[in-house]
């Protein structure tokens, strides 16, 4: 847990004092990623760097796991905080192994222990130790280098990590991959992480909580969904973007929204049965057809069922799209737009039908936050009226 108490930084410049961070007050719960977000010069990096005193605070205190860090020796403090920077900063004169083991060596671990740790960490960041341990940083690509940067920060297993735009210098494709890998690692490691970014999409993806900064002040500190649904003022609103409701789609997965269990028919059922089922469940368009393994293979439309006689197996239409329960809603919305459909069957990892997801269901789910008492943001009142 990181607790920041009234942290302030005033820089003396030739044009007079400049307040880079103004009485910042926040708390990051154990095991969560907090993304500090804002335009450049908003104080997010200054705040981050005051945690490990790369920038000494003018006033205020930082507590890590309840301990006031102002009493700690700066070097000791830093060795217990993982630090990843945008420029990566691998030492070019050291091999990958030496880079990764820098902190353990400073801490005086014995050789066998830190060598074993280097191998373990390389495996964790998905690089083959046999290939990479003895290489030098310049022989690696940018993405590989930043994986090593992360491994170096994790080396001594610090409870807290500071990451200053860690994936900012990596090309978009590799950035997505590294972000995903990092989130997967974090699920196991459960570090308390402070992460600076200027990219709202990255923040929404990575964060348990987002802190929006402006002119040295913390403007809003909320979960990504609350931030996107209820921006506090016009600055936050414009910063998160006009498409903020669409960004929320990424935060929700199919399992949270789908209606389950889903009624369905088999090829052996008659069209009469299908029609009956549709009416029973209030389906106005169609019903899913499954095979013997309960896997959806198509659908029978209401129109056909009303006008034709026979078996479902003879009169179904092939599936247009399929939602996995782990997909996020953004992907599903995109699929629906692509296939011009308003609903989609949902399957689990073995491909069996487990539910249905509809555009109405998505809208309903996303709208729930506006129907909560006392949390009605002004722009949406218009819609309700």
């Amino acid at each position: 847990m990181i607790k920041i108490d009234n942290l302030t930084k005033i820089f003396d410049t030739p044009n007079g004092p400049v307040t880079a961070a103004d009485n910042i007050q926040m708390e990051i719960p154990q095991g969560e990623i907090c993304v500090l977000l804002g335009p450049s010069g908003c104080g997010k990096t200054t705040t981050l760097k005051m945690i490990n005193r790369i920038i000494p605070p003018t006033s205020g205190r930082v507590f890590i796991n309840g301990e006031d860090t102002s009493g700690l020796d700066t070097v000791d403090l830093r060795r217990n905080i993982g630090y990843v920077i945008q420029q990566i900063g691998l030492f070019p004169n050291m091999t990958i192994e030496e880079n990764i083991t820098a902190v353990p060596r400073l801490l005086g671990w014995d050789v066998n222990r830190y060598k074993a740790r280097a191998t373990e960490l390389l495996e964790m960041v998905a690089l083959d130790p046999a290939v990479f341990l003895k290489r030098y940083p310049k022989e690696l690509s940018g993405g590989q280098q930043q994986r090593i940067g992360v491994a170096r920060a994790l080396a001594a297993d610090p409870p807290v990590m500071l990451m200053d735009e860690p994936f900012g210098a990596i090309d978009p494709i590799n950035r997505e991959v590294i972000q995903d890998e990092f989130l997967k690692m974090q699920q196991e490691l459960k570090k308390t992480i402070m992460f600076v970014s200027h990219d709202i999409d990255e923040a929404v993806k990575m964060a348990n909580r987002i802190a929006i900064f402006r002119d040295g002040r913390l403007v809003q500190y909320d979960t990504p969904d609350d931030l996107l649904a209820h921006p506090k003022d016009s600055f936050v609103e414009s910063f998160v973007g006009d498409d903020r409701a669409l960004k929320r789609l990424r935060l929700v997965n199919v399992a949270q929204v789908m209606e389950s269990p889903a009624p369905c028919v088999t090829p052996q059922d008659s069209l009469e049965t299908a029609l009956q089922q549709m009416e029973e469940h209030g389906y106005s368009h169609a019903i899913t057809l499954v095979n013997q393994q309960q896997q959806p293979i198509g659908f029978v439309s209401k129109q056909v069922a009303q006008t034709t006689k026979g078996y479902c197996g003879e009169h179904y239409v092939g599936l247009k799209g399929l939602a996995n329960i782990n997909d996020d809603l953004r992907k599903i919305a995109s699929l629906m737009f692509t296939h011009d459909s308003t609903w989609m069957p949902c399957v689990d990892d073995s491909g069996r039908l487990v539910g249905h997801i509809s555009q109405r269901g998505i809208t309903h789910y996303l709208g729930a936050t506006y129907r909560r008492d006392g949390r009605q943001a002004a722009p949406y009142n218009l819609k309700l009226a």
């Binding site: 403090l77 920077i85 420029q87 030492f91 070019p92 091999t95 920060a153």
Partner: protein, 217 residues
């Protein structure tokens, strides 16, 4: 032809003078490295001090060597060392300061700020940062400074023969005073060849001392 005969007949003398010359330069530049590198590192902490030190070192290097030797005669006579080995070594030591201090200062100052921040951020003390990161990265440039000092001072040391320090300059000064072109040319050639060999050898050393991760291709 005459020169080759002369060299063949005086091989012993030539060898002795060469060894003398090398040892004079080696001792002087060696000491200069031991003082210049720490000074170069120290002045990275304070820009005003850096400007002052580099300014003084630049002035020293503009003093003609013959004048510097002359200046040291009265000063060192007070301890009975007005001429000979000591003033020669001191002069070369002073001349070596500028290339060594300036290269050290520039190399340390030019270490990528991101690396410095990474080193601080993972908890290296200032001394550990120097030892593990900054000096290894600065080595190629510092060594280039030492090389410049050596090559430059092999020439300067030839003049030290006039204050009785020995070395290959002895051949040159005798050649002039005895109007003997054989000795003059032999001395001058030997000094030039020595400088070229030293430069080459130090370049090899510089490459060997460069950390592997810094080598280009």
């Amino acid at each position: 032809m005459e020169i080759i005969d002369f060299l063949a007949q005086n091989l012993d003398l030539l060898l002795k003078l060469t060894v003398e010359h090398i040892s004079l330069v080696a001792v002087a530049v060696g000491l200069a490295t031991l003082t210049g590198v720490p000074i170069g590192i120290a002045i990275t902490q304070n820009e005003r001090a850096a400007n002052l030190v580099l300014y003084i070192a630049s002035i020293i290097i503009t003093i003609p060597s013959i004048a510097l030797f002359g200046l040291m005669i009265p000063l060192l006579s007070t301890i009975g060392q007005g001429i000979g080995y000591l003033p020669a070594v001191i002069a070369v030591l002073l001349y070596s300061q500028l290339p060594i201090i300036r290269n050290t200062y520039t190399a340390i100052n030019n270490v990528n700020p991101a690396l410095r921040e990474a080193a601080r951020g993972i908890g290296m003390s200032p001394l550990q940062r120097l030892r593990m990161v900054e000096i290894p990265l600065a080595i190629p440039v510092i060594m280039a400074g030492v090389r410049t000092a050596v090559v430059m001072n092999i020439g300067v040391m030839a003049i030290a023969a006039y204050i009785g320090a020995g070395g290959l300059g002895v051949l040159i000064s005798r050649g002039i005073s005895q109007s003997d072109p054989r000795q003059l040319i032999a001395g001058a050639l030997a000094v030039s060849i020595l400088a070229i060999i030293a430069d080459f050898a130090l370049l090899r050393l510089q490459k060997r001392m460069t950390p592997r991760g810094l080598e280009t291709a």
